[in-house]
C-alpha cells in the first residue's frame, strides 16, 4: 500500500464471484422486488402500483397469523433443540469405540431428505396404522394430528426435534471435544460444582458453535415448508400454515404475483432482521 499506486486490476479477480452471486441471488431478488411494485396482467400489460401490495400484505390477517405462528414455531424449536442438543453432546462418550459409532447414529436423521422426514412422521403418527399414533390411541389417548391443532403442533415439533437436534448435538460435541482434560481437572481441584463446570468451562467454549447452531436453526426453521406440507398440508384449518406455506399458496396456487412478491420481500427482510439482531447481540456481548 505505502508509496504504491493502488492497482485496480485486483477487481478482476473478484469478477467471477460477482457474476455468480449476481445470477444466483441479486438478479432473482431484484426481479421479485420489481414484481412487488407492479400489477401484472400479462406479458405486456403491467401497472406500477408503488407500495400498494406491501400495504395489502401487512393488513392481511392471514399473513400476520402465519408470521406469529412462524415465530412461535421457531422459538419453540430453538428452546427445545439447543438445550437438548447440548445435553446429548455432553452425555456422548469422548473416546472409545462407542464414540464414533454414536456420532454416526446421531447424524443419521440429518441425512434423510425433508419430504421423506415428512412422510415418515406422517405414517409414524397416524392414529390407525402408525406406530406412535396407534400406540397412543391404544393407551387411551386421543391423538389425531389431522383434526386436533395441538396434536398437529406436537407432531410437527417432535418431527423437527428428531430431524435437527442432531445438528446442534454434533456442533456442540465438536465444541466440547476442543476442551482439554486439564480444564476439567483444574475445575475439580478448585472445587467447582457441576453447574459451575458447565457455565465456566464448557459454555465459553461452546459459545461460537452454539452461535452458528442457533443461526442455522433459526433460518432453517423460519423457512420450513416441506415437512408441514407433507404432514398436515397446513391444517387442520390453518393451524400449521407457516409463512412459506401461505406464500406458496398465494404465488403458485392463485398466481397473485404482485402480492406474493411483496410477501417474499417482507419474508426475506424479517428473516434477515432476526438473524442480524441475534448475531449483533452475540457479538456485542463478546466484546464486553
Amino acid at each position: 500500500m505505502s508509496g504504491r499506486r493502488p492497482d485496480n486490476r485486483a477487481w478482476l479477480g473478484v469478477l467471477p464471484v460477482v457474476l455468480v452471486v449476481a445470477f444466483s441471488a441479486v438478479i432473482p431478488l431484484m426481479t421479485v422486488v420489481n414484481y412487488s411494485l407492479q400489477d401484472i396482467f400479462d406479458q405486456h400489460t403491467r401497472l406500477f402500483v408503488g407500495f400498494d401490495w406491501y400495504r395489502e400484505i401487512l393488513r392481511d390477517p392471514r399473513f400476520l397469523e402465519a408470521l406469529l405462528r412462524q415465530l412461535a414455531f421457531s422459538g419453540a424449536v430453538l428452546l427445545i433443540e439447543v438445550p437438548l442438543g447440548v445435553m446429548v453432546a455432553r452425555s456422548l462418550p469422548r473416546s472409545g469405540w462407542l464414540a464414533p459409532a454414536l456420532v454416526v447414529l446421531i447424524a443419521l436423521p440429518l441425512l434423510v431428505p425433508w419430504n421423506v422426514v415428512g412422510t415418515i412422521w406422517q405414517i409414524f403418527a397416524r392414529p390407525d396404522i402408525g406406530l406412535l399414533g396407534a400406540a397412543l390411541t391404544g393407551l387411551g389417548f386421543e391423538f389425531n394430528y389431522t383434526s386436533s391443532p395441538v396434536d398437529a403442533w406436537i407432531t410437527l415439533l417432535l418431527m423437527d426435534v428428531w430431524h435437527w437436534t442432531s445438528l446442534v448435538a454434533l456442533l456442540a460435541y465438536a465444541g466440547l471435544a476442543s476442551i482439554q482434560e486439564a480444564h476439567y481437572q483444574a475445575a475439580e481441584i478448585d472445587g467447582a460444582g457441576r453447574w459451575q463446570v458447565f457455565r465456566l468451562v464448557e459454555l465459553p467454549r461452546l459459545r461460537p458453535v452454539l452461535t452458528i447452531a442457533v443461526l442455522l436453526r433459526l433460518m432453517d426453521s423460519f423457512m420450513i415448508y416441506t415437512e408441514p406440507f407433507v404432514l398436515t398440508g397446513g391444517g387442520p384449518g390453518n393451524a400449521t400454515t407457516f409463512l412459506s406455506q401461505y406464500l406458496t399458496s398465494m404465488a403458485v396456487g392463485q398466481f397473485d404475483l404482485g402480492p406474493a412478491a411483496a410477501f417474499s420481500v417482507l419474508y426475506f427482510l424479517v428473516t434477515l432482521l432476526m438473524c442480524w439482531l441475534f448475531y449483533t447481540s452475540v457479538i456485542r456481548k463478546e466484546d464486553e
Binding site: Q180, A182, H183, Q185, A186, E188, I189, D190, G191, A192, G193, Q196, L200, V201, L203, P204, R205
Partner: protein
C-alpha cells in the same frame, strides 16, 4: 502445608498391560520443594495425578500429615495444581479467576478480594485484575494460573506440572525465580514435575529421579550428581551425562581394559559398568602415565574460552567405548592420548544399580 508420604503405591490404568508404578515409596517433608525429574513416559504426570487425586492408586497408601487420602477426591484434598499451559476460566476476569477457588470454599467476598489482591501484587499482575485472560500474553496467563493455585490459605500441597513448558526460554528464568520466592515465602510443600534437569536443580531442595515407573533415587542435586544410585541417574543428570563404559572387578580392583582405575577391595569380582563424569577425568596429551588409560581423540567441542585457552568437551575412544572429558582443549582429533580418571570419584554399577564401596557414598538411595 503437609508432610506427604507414599507407602507402597502402585497404579495401573484399566486395560494397560502393566503397571505404571509398582510399590512406590517416597516421603516429602513439610514445606519442601521437591522435583520429580524424568524423561517423557517415565510416569511423572501419573504420579502427579495420584497426588492431586485425579487418579487413585491401585494399591498402597498416600498420606498427608498421616491422614490417608488415597481415596479422597481432588476437591477434598486441599491441593492446588499448575498445568503445562495456562488453564483459566476464559469468561471470568483475572480477579474473578484468582478468587474462584476461595469462592467455591465459601470464603467471604471481602476476604476473597483481599487475598486475590495480595497475590496479584506479589506476582506483579495487579494492574491486570479487570482484564480477561484472552487478552493477556502466555506469560501473564501462566502467572494468573500460578496465582490461582497459591491463593488458598493453608494448602496441603502445590503441584506444578512442567509449568514453564509454554513459556519463552528468556522468561523461564524469571518465572522460576518468582515461583521459588513465593514458595519460600508461604512455605508450601511443592512438587515440581519436569524433564529439564536445570529446572529441577535450581528449584528443588530434593529431587526424585523417575525412570519407567520407578523412583531410582531421591536426594539433593549434589548427591544425584556425585553419588548416583543407578546408571540412569548418572546418565540423566549432568550435561553431558556420566560416561558409562564396560569394565570388571578383579583382584580387588576396578579395571577398564585390564588397567586399574580404582581400588575395589570389598566388591564381588565380575563384569560391571564403570561410571565417571566428564569433570572427573583429564586428558594427558603427552601420553598416559603409569595407571592411565589409552585412547584416541575423536572430536573436540568448544564451549568457551578461559584465560585465552579454549575449553570444552573432548571425545576419546578408549577401545571399549567413547568417553567425554570436560577440560581445556589441549589436544586435537586423531591424537593418541592418556586419560586419567579420579580414582576417588569413579563409580561402578552392576545390573544398573550402584556397587557400594567404590566412589562417593550414595546416601539414602531408593528402590534397590
Amino acid at each position: 502445608m503437609s508432610r506427604i508420604e507414599l507407602d507402597g503405591v502402585s497404579h495401573r490404568y484399566p486395560e494397560a498391560p502393566s503397571e505404571t508404578f509398582a510399590e512406590l515409596e517416597l516421603v516429602i517433608g513439610s514445606g519442601e520443594a521437591h522435583a520429580l525429574l524424568g524423561s517423557s513416559g517415565a510416569g511423572k504426570t501419573t504420579l502427579l495425578n495420584l497426588l492431586s487425586g485425579i487418579e487413585q492408586p491401585t494399591t498402597g497408601r498416600i498420606t498427608f500429615d498421616g491422614r490417608d487420602v488415597s481415596r479422597t477426591p481432588p476437591r477434598a484434598r486441599n491441593v492446588a495444581q499448575v498445568f503445562q499451559f495456562p488453564v483459566l476460566y476464559e469468561s471470568l476476569s483475572v480477579a474473578e479467576n484468582l478468587e474462584f477457588p476461595l469462592k467455591t470454599r465459601g470464603v467471604r467476598a471481602a476476604e476473597r478480594r483481599r487475598r486475590a489482591k495480595a497475590m496479584a501484587e506479589r506476582l506483579g499482575i495487579a494492574e491486570l485484575m479487570g482484564r480477561r485472560p484472552g487478552k493477556l500474553s502466555l506469560f501473564e496467563r501462566q502467572l494468573v494460573a500460578i496465582g490461582r493455585a497459591l491463593v488458598r490459605p493453608e494448602l496441603s500441597l502445590v503441584l506444578l506440572d512442567e509449568p514453564l513448558t509454554a513459556v519463552e526460554p528468556s522468561i523461564k528464568w524469571q518465572l522460576r525465580r518468582e515461583l521459588k520466592a513465593v514458595q519460600q515465602e508461604i512455605g508450601a510443600t511443592m512438587i515440581y514435575v519436569t524433564h529439564d534437569q536445570t529446572e529441577a536443580l535450581t528449584f528443588a531442595d530434593r529431587i526424585s529421579l523417575l525412570h519407567r515407573g520407578r523412583i531410582l533415587q531421591t536426594g539433593s542435586a549434589r548427591t544425584l550428581f556425585s553419588a548416583p544410585a543407578h546408571e540412569q541417574v548418572g546418565h540423566f543428570i549432568g550435561s553431558p551425562g556420566m560416561n558409562l563404559v564396560p569394565g570388571e572387578i578383579a583382584e580387588g580392583a576396578l579395571r577398564l581394559g585390564g588397567r586399574v582405575v580404582a581400588p575395589a577391595a570389598g566388591a564381588e569380582p565380575g563384569p560391571c559398568t564403570i561410571g565417571f563424569r566428564p569433570e572427573w577425568a583429564s586428558v594427558a596429551p603427552s601420553g598416559p602415565d603409569g595407571s592411565g588409560l589409552l585412547g584416541t581423540i575423536t572430536a573436540a567441542r568448544v564451549l568457551g574460552v578461559r584465560r585465552g585457552v579454549p575449553v570444552g568437551i573432548l571425545s576419546v575412544d578408549l577401545g571399549v567405548g567413547v568417553v567425554q572429558v570436560r577440560q581445556a582443549l589441549s589436544a586435537s582429533p586423531g591424537e593418541r592420548v592418556g586419560v586419567n580418571v579420579d580414582a576417588g570419584q569413579v563409580v561402578a554399577f552392576r545390573e544398573g544399580w550402584r556397587l557400594p564401596g567404590i566412589g562417593a557414598e550414595t546416601g539414602r538411595g531408593a528402590g534397590s
